[in-house]
Amino acid sequence: MRFTLNGKAANVAAHPMARLLDVLREECGLTGTKEGCGEGECGACTVLVDGEPVCACLVPFAQVADQRVVTIEGLGDGHPLQHHFLNEAGAQCGICTPGMIMVACTLPPNASLDEIRTALAGNLCRCTGYEAIYRAIAKAAEQGAARVAT
């Protein structure tokens, strides 16, 4: 089935009802998207489909036909959010970090703290209490972090 994966044309054979999460991790070999719950509660499996964050554990592969899918790998390693998540300690154990960053990279640079909280309400973190995540996002915004082109 054809779709766009991290900016490149992809053609991947998988069952249409397979979870997008499994297709990404297995057929595509991209293990950056994590499974934390399988019920759309933790957000660790967040990817962008046509620019919008969704839980990949709740998306049938067939539904991304001809869509643009972006995973954490699609950010490379140059996005300011990545650096700040580490150094502001927005990432402790890191398992929720890819999902957090995938949502954070869709935020407007002048998002208020309330808007950030609301945008991330679907991403659970057990390590940080979220405060350092807000600091990491604020630092990246200060640097004029570009929204991810999707």
């Binding site: 069952h15 964050p53 998306v59 945008a119 309400a121």
Partner: protein, 272 residues
């Protein structure tokens, strides 16, 4: 313990008519945003094996005003609804309920049609549809029919929807009066409701509750009591007679009764 994917089949129609033809010919479970169905897939509690994918059918996403009727396509996601100027203008209580469903990821995929078809007694949009006296537009390959929301459910997760029928849109006539919505969940976000209430303080009050019975319920006796000037204490007693909440893993019948009563008072006081 996940469902065996290889045993599942997915029909992928490219038009609504093709979808309806497929549904006439075979028993198929429709898939929209799959935010409920795929939880069952992940937990292995799904018995169905044949599905039909509605997701590419863009005409079902349309939100439009025709004359005095606001029509929301069954495939409109909560995010689409939240961003719609028409819905914001006419149904702020629907916006409020959509904002409190899950988090952003769920709102981007969950649909109004899905919330209705799933038929959970805790469905967050359902009390809104009940007090708005929405009309569901249902279609088969043979034609269309309109069913008032109040006549849609027949019991716990059961409805008049035929096996070959799809919800294509939800229609709302003009609504007079102050709209009110409250969801009481297990935490501040990403919560299943313990009690969910919608109210409209129009010429006659309308009140509906979720999570307190086998389906969403309007409260006709309570509405009549309030409309005829009954004191709020007595109206609350009437409300208690119209609901049948249960104990479950999330809450207790006693809590649900108390909170439903408190919300009634709050609605009445705030919408005066």
């Amino acid at each position: 313990m996940r469902t065996a994917i290889s045993a599942l089949e997915l029909r992928q129609p490219s038009t609504l008519d093709e979808a309806l033809r497929m549904m006439r010919d075979e028993k198929l479970v429709p898939l929209a945003g799959t935010t409920d169905v795929y939880v069952s897939v992940n937990f292995g509690t799904l018995t169905a094996q044949r599905f039909i994918d509605l997701w590419p059918l863009d005409p079902l996403r349309e939100i439009a005003v025709r004359g005095s009727v606001l029509s929301i396509g069954a495939l409109a996601s909560y995010t689409t609804i939240i961003r719609s100027p028409d819905v914001n203008a006419r149904l702020p209580m629907l916006i409020e309920s959509a904002r409190q469903i899950g988090g952003a990821q769920i709102q981007n995929r969950g649909t109004l049609g899905g919330n209705i078809a799933n038929g959970s007694p805790a469905g967050d949009t359902l009390p809104v549809l009940a007090v708005a006296e929405a009309v569901l537009v249902l279609r088969t390959i043979d034609g269309e029919r309109r069913v008032p929301f109040s006549q849609f459910y027949t019991g716990y997760r059961a409805s008049v929807l035929r096996p070959d029928e799809l919800i294509v849109a939800v229609e709302f006539g003009p609504l007079e009066g102050r709209q009110w919505f409250r969801k009481v969940g297990t935490r501040a976000a990403q919560a299943i409701s313990k009690v969910v209430m919608a109210g409209v303080r129009g010429p006659l009050p309308r009140i509906a509750l979720g999570s307190v019975a086998a389906t969403v319920v309007r409260l006709p006796l309570t509405e009549r009591a309030l409309a005829s000037g009954t004191a709020i204490d007595d109206a609350e007693r009437v409300l208690q007679s119209e609901i049948k909440p249960l104990d479950d893993v999330r809450s207790t019948a006693e809590y649900r009764r108390r909170v439903a009563g408190n919300l009634l008072r709050r609605f009445w006081a705030e919408s005066a």
